[in-house]
Symmetry: C4
Subunit: 253 residues, 4 copies
Amino acid sequence: MKDRAPGLRDRLAAIVAGDDPRFGNRFDEAMLIVILVSLAALGLETVPAIPGWLHTLCIWIERASILLFTAEYAARLGTAKKAWKYATSFWGVIDFLAVAPWWLTMGGAGFQAIRSLRLLRILRALKLVRHLAAIDRVRRAFELVREEMAVFGLLALILLFIAGVGIYEFEHEAQPVAFSSIPQSLWFVVVTLTTVGYGDVYPVTTGGKLFTVLILVTGIGIVALPTSLITTGLTRAREEEKARKQKPAAEQT
Amino acid sequence: MKDRAPGLRDRLAAIVAGDDPRFGNRFDEAMLIVILVSLAALGLETVPAIPGWLHTLCIWIERASILLFTAEYAARLGTAKKAWKYATSFWGVIDFLAVAPWWLTMGGAGFQAIRSLRLLRILRALKLVRHLAAIDRVRRAFELVREEMAVFGLLALILLFIAGVGIYEFEHEAQPVAFSSIPQSLWFVVVTLTTVGYGDVYPVTTGGKLFTVLILVTGIGIVALPTSLITTGLTRAREEEKARKQKPAAEQT
Amino acid sequence: MKDRAPGLRDRLAAIVAGDDPRFGNRFDEAMLIVILVSLAALGLETVPAIPGWLHTLCIWIERASILLFTAEYAARLGTAKKAWKYATSFWGVIDFLAVAPWWLTMGGAGFQAIRSLRLLRILRALKLVRHLAAIDRVRRAFELVREEMAVFGLLALILLFIAGVGIYEFEHEAQPVAFSSIPQSLWFVVVTLTTVGYGDVYPVTTGGKLFTVLILVTGIGIVALPTSLITTGLTRAREEEKARKQKPAAEQT
Amino acid sequence: MKDRAPGLRDRLAAIVAGDDPRFGNRFDEAMLIVILVSLAALGLETVPAIPGWLHTLCIWIERASILLFTAEYAARLGTAKKAWKYATSFWGVIDFLAVAPWWLTMGGAGFQAIRSLRLLRILRALKLVRHLAAIDRVRRAFELVREEMAVFGLLALILLFIAGVGIYEFEHEAQPVAFSSIPQSLWFVVVTLTTVGYGDVYPVTTGGKLFTVLILVTGIGIVALPTSLITTGLTRAREEEKARKQKPAAEQT
């Protein structure tokens, strides 16, 4: 199989890698559009109010895009220098999981266990990221603040746990359903510290309210910090790029 | 018409452009006050509790300001070097849309289709921005962080979609009304990731709650980042201005 | 009166200004404690569950602190170089308004109109700021970002208004009570854009939800920006201080 | 007792301090795992739906970890150069409070007064922080912005109080239960200014709504500022570290 059509295989490899002199870039753009259209169909399909023909169209778009994604997966697998390396790489796994559930259920409902695999369809959206050129600076920004992120992530986890146990002790007796267990109380803590505050659970005892005020004062900063950190990281990533560009020029003088 | 009163026309052009030696700046200030008063009347008019005379006054203010805005539009159109260039420019469109709906309905209710045009009245508020001198630095700040904004905008969209499909799969069976479709689920996702959390929809299943926690942890940073980015942009825009001012001085030495 | 006890008057002036060699600083500290204790009493007094003696104690603390604040006001007024200049200064007005309502009602309920003046009691808390030494850098930080604050304040106001009119047009028919008028709709807009989201009002129509998503995407950044701006201001205020300290040293070399 | 086994005691001291040539680091890692497992058991134990054997396992894990923590406390106390210094140090107190409640109640329910001590179990999570190497930079960052934090902390407290008294005056008559007293109103203020907004309390009067808008506009920045401040602190702490590393190199040249 390897030697059957070396010219065609090299061509295909160049196309999916995006550096074919004639089709490379167009393949990239075409796949982007296929992904976007298939995502739109995926969402639209679930709206009960749409007319029948639109629903049928959505299903056919779904089927067509699955075929295309499968063809893309096969092409990438077939043209990769080491097939297993691609299959176990991040994008290889995403590409596989984006189509596998459909083939397992053949687009139908299937068994309960297999049906829950349908959730994996959302991974298709991640395929968009591959086509995002500017993602490198973002990755670099995350790398630059990795350490601080880890520390604040851990501090946040510790705080979450302390808050969960604490609010459970205060509110469990007064609200045995809403604060039925510590894991259940963690739902309240996450909703509170992210400042979402749906209002489905909230403390009613004086002790619980005081404790909530306490964890809000201590915790909001810790939970909101990663955003600030990434901005810092982005600023520094940009400065690095600037310095790298200026260096060769400076060395010449 | 072009040659009837060239002196008057030039004068008018100078006045609306804001550089007439005698009235220029005053016209600017007067229009600012007209806009503010007309906006106040627009809001007040809808309060059921106001007395009749105030309601009538609001309606007359509305009519007077529409006349003034129309006169302004005519003046700008008539004095512009190329009338079509102004008419299709950003401010030309805003100026037109701020008065057109009123003339179409003659201030009355009109047909349903035309009535919905009344929403365009709010564009009048945008006219205020024209009189905002310091808007340039803000625009420059946005320009400086355009790339990062685009990346995070796209990441946010991808995340929104993944979250919408995911929460739909988890909650659709338990809450068929609140999570009736994927577009409907996106309402929940936006309200959650912006941390507004009205409480009209929230997950009730354990899977849905865990998934919500997951998207909160991943997503809040991405959604809140643009604010931090613009601050960075503003800081850099200011530094640019400073450098530009210092350069001529430095070059002299 | 001016000449009766010049020595005593100078002494008093030094004490309230905080630079008396013996009592100056202590007067400052004593007033801080009086303010804090009086604020605590003000709050505690309203709790229905407290025993009678504590309630009586709170009332007496209230009376005593009013006497002390009045004495402080009289002393500052009497020792100021120009009495009217103090009386019309920021702190002079705060000092006056913190005691005036009590004297007008003699601590009792009084007429409805005068009773609403009781709200002015909260100004007493502002008196704490006078004793806050580090407030200068904060004021400088605000000064440094004044321009940006003004621009974003105005943009936020424009956005609020546009959003208020818009959501009113979308939701008024479906929810005539919650969105009864444009000013009423502004309550929804403020609660939404600050991401508080109590859940007392929220859109129910598809158009209203889409419009809310739109204003959230545009608006959150604008509303949240002042916080980032002040941090930038604080950083720059600190750098200014540092530069000012290093300058004399640098000039010597 | 001090002289019975000096070799063993030194060895033990090295192990708990984490610099024993053979076990030091492993002890650290083992304790980390013990803490994590014991925290997981603490949470899981309260879930009503778990099977009986898992509940029993959780209780045994709890007992075993208490024994280990007690042994650790005894080892640290016995090997410390000055036992009292350790016992009164921050970590000494945490180590003690993490086990004391269990011994007092012997894992049972105990008297009401002692049962409330169970809340101290959550301090166990704090023990994790000791094993967090990167915590130093975070501490330094807090130190660097200590002054600003203090100022904004105080401003936030003053604002909270003013807002609490104000909203009480506006809403007490209309909602005598939700705004029953000033301390009760502070709950509303904290939930509002942190933008959590559960929706259990919200203003209903026009005055109350206007006042809430006012405190939101003034207050959100003050409450959200600490997060921005810590990011600034982290950036500066990192720059300090960098400068410290470069200094020796620079001094050599």
